[in-house]
């Protein structure tokens, strides 16, 4: 199979098995044949509207069957697709449109009106909705369904993924066809995806898990089951959706799975179609993972680790008797790991250091950000004419005796307080283990004396006194690592991708402890 471009498998299966379902959503399906034809039509429409190879195409849509057409149509036209959060505030949307120069945008009836609020100078050519000066899907379908014939190589960019930078400005990660296909093939092989698999697209498109959902599934000729955003907000609707759509594979964040366990009414749902759950994005609190594994004894679980810059670089198939914390496992076949200490020297077994990754999935860098690119990559002598380029993950790991890697936390989650180094994730884990604590988030705020103070927010089940929690923590943590305050809260703030928003917590709690 000629599979060196992201969209190659769709073209392959459109020839081989055109009637197999490629995408499904709320009971409706689109076949590989229809997806390929519709994508060709969109590609031809984009080219007719001046799209040149390498141009960025914004995809600003909710989950719907048209999403596949938008992705593959952009790629077939030679475009670089830029997934945009449908819930993005207008200013942030305008920032991204300008930052990477999006002149073509695929969107929907529901969202197109919001474009009126942005500066007309940034206003891209719009595809999809029925709206003034927009090329509607009906109009797109009047274009020929023949292959647009754009020549691409696997080193060309396939997509640009924006994440919130630490400065608050989003930064766009450049990914090639080659890197995406490597990630997609890793996923398809690891899970043993087959054409009969129905893989959920639960994560938002602008989150790197979706690259697995869409492209690993396409590698196997399987079906991507799009999960509408409203369904993802209701654990009981989500478990029902898994049942009704007979979803077999899910890749999501621990939060979604914990919600499913707690409020998903799982015992009233037939989840027998599920065979594999992959999770990543943040550590899974072990006690909740154990409960989930007990509730779904026939499902396999994999902890996938990898920053969006080098997705899925390590993974760990979780056995029933897994150690705590859940290891991130071993490096994937398409990656090489290097753990370095503060001087750049390689760490041995048991020595903590920053994980650096060389991978065929590695980003080409950040769009228009030479400043970030200079810092993000580490060049090491390879012994040959070209240096090895590693991505500095900013994550601190340790290699265990058995060769598995343990994730210890973000480098920026390691703080100095009163001269002691404290790993906030350690404190968080210890607090999360306490009886009565559902979830814990530990963060640091300025203490007003040039140092930092540790604080915690917890969600509780039942009547637990924060003072008592502090007492219990005293038994397991050194005094300097104890939070100055533990604040019970109803819910912890989340980022759009479902991770605990520590930055938001720190901003909310930067005053004196109450």
């Amino acid at each position: 199979m000629l599979d060196f471009l992201i969209h190659s498998p769709v073209e392959h299966y459109a020839r081989l098995s055109p009637d197999r379902p490629a995408m499904a959503c709320q009971g409706a399906e689109v076949t590989y044949g229809a997806l390929d034809a519709a994508s060709n039509q969109l590609a031809n429409a984009l080219i007719d509207h001046g799209l040149a190879p390498g141009d960025r195409v914004g995809i600003w849509m909710h989950k719907s069957l048209d999403l596949g057409t938008a992705i593959y149509g952009s790629l077939k036209a030679g475009g670089v697709f830029v997934p945009l959060d449908p819930f993005l505030p207008t200013e942030r949307l305008a920032f991204i449109l300008e930052d990477c120069g999006i002149r073509h945008l695929v969107t929907s009836d529901l969202l197109v009106g919001r474009l009126d609020a942005i500066d007309s100078g940034l206003r891209p050519d719009v595809f999809g909705p029925v709206h003034e000066s927009s090329t509607s899907w009906d109009h797109v379908r009047s274009y020929p369904a023949s292959h647009p014939g754009v020549r691409l190589i696997d080193q060309d960019l396939g997509y640009l993924m924006y994440t919130s930078g630490s400065t608050g400005e989003p930064k766009g990660m450049m990914h090639t066809h080659h890197g995406s296909v490597s990630y997609a093939r890793w996923g398809a092989l690891h899970v043993g995806l087959q054409s009969t698999d129905r893989v959920a697209s639960h994560a938002p498109l602008h989150f790197d898990l979706s690259i697995f959902d869409f492209f690993s599934t396409a590698q196997a000729g399987g079906t991507v089951v799009l999960v509408p955003e409203p369904v993802t907000k209701f654990p009981a609707s989500w478990t029902r959706y898994v049942q009704d759509e007979r979803i077999s594979v899910v890749f999501t964040v621990p939060y979604t799975l914990m919600e499913m366990l707690e409020r998903g009414a799982m015992e009233q749902t037939d989840l027998s179609s599920l065979r594999w759950i992959l999770f990543g994005g943040e550590p899974f609190p072990p006690k909740h993972l154990r409960s989930l594994m007990a509730a779904l004894p026939d499902v396999r679980f994999t902890n996938v680790y990898g920053p969006a810059e080098a997705p899925s670089c390590t993974c760990y198939d979780v056995p029933p008797d897994f150690p705590e914390p859940v290891p991130i496992g071993t490096v994937s076949k398409n990656s090489v790991d290097l753990i370095v200490d503060e001087n750049g020297d390689e760490c041995g077994i048991g020595e903590e250091g920053e994980l650096c990754i060389r991978s065929s999935t590695l980003t080409r860098g950040y769009w228009n950000r030479p400043d970030l690119n200079a810092r993000a990559f580490l060049r090491r002598d390879s012994g040959g004419p070209f240096p090895h380029v590693y991505y500095r993950t900013g994550d601190v790991v340790v290699r265990r005796e058995d060769g598995l890697l343990d994730f210890l936390g973000r480098r920026d989650r390691m703080i100095k307080t009163r001269g002691h180094r404290v790993e906030l994730d350690d404190v968080e884990l210890a607090l999360g283990r306490q009886e009565g604590v559902v979830e814990a988030a530990v963060f640091a705020v300025p203490d007003g004396r040039g140092s930092r103070q540790i604080r915690a927010a917890v969600t509780l089940s039942g009547d637990v006194d924060p003072t008592e929690l502090l007492q219990r923590l005293r038994a397991v943590l050194p005094g300097y690592a104890l939070p100055a305050a533990i604040v019970p809260t109803k819910e912890l703030p989340r980022t759009t991708s479902g991770k605990i928003d520590h930055r938001q917590l720190a901003a909310d709690h930067s005053g004196a402890p109450s």
Binding site: H62, P86, F87, L110, E229, P230, V231, T232, K233, F234, P235, A236, S237, R240, E259, E262, R263, G264, A265, Q268, K490, E491, P493, R494
Partner: protein, 79 residues
């Protein structure tokens, strides 16, 4: 019946905009008004205000898509 009360709660406590337009049939989810955190705050509010119990299996899209849906659901629980 409860549409006004629920609308006030969403305006004041969730979107923080007391003058926001919100019709009974507006989709609260696709518009991004309700995220998963907001849903659970809303559930807690409804339980307290209307003295009802909302079991997890009832916290679904069908009951929370619009103000009208929520109103109908609350009514059915109180009935």
């Amino acid at each position: 019946m409860s549409v006004e009360t629920i609308r006030d709660f969403i305006r004041a406590e969730i979107v923080n905009d007391r003058s926001m337009d919100l019709a009974p049939d507006d989709n609260l989810l696709l518009s991004g008004i309700l995220d998963s955190l907001a849903v659970f705050r809303l559930v807690a509010y409804l339980e307290e205000t209307y003295e009802i119990e909302i079991p997890p299996q009832d916290v679904t899209l069908d009951h929370f898509a619009t103000l009208a849906h929520i109103d109908a659901y609350v009514l059915s629980r109180r009935g």
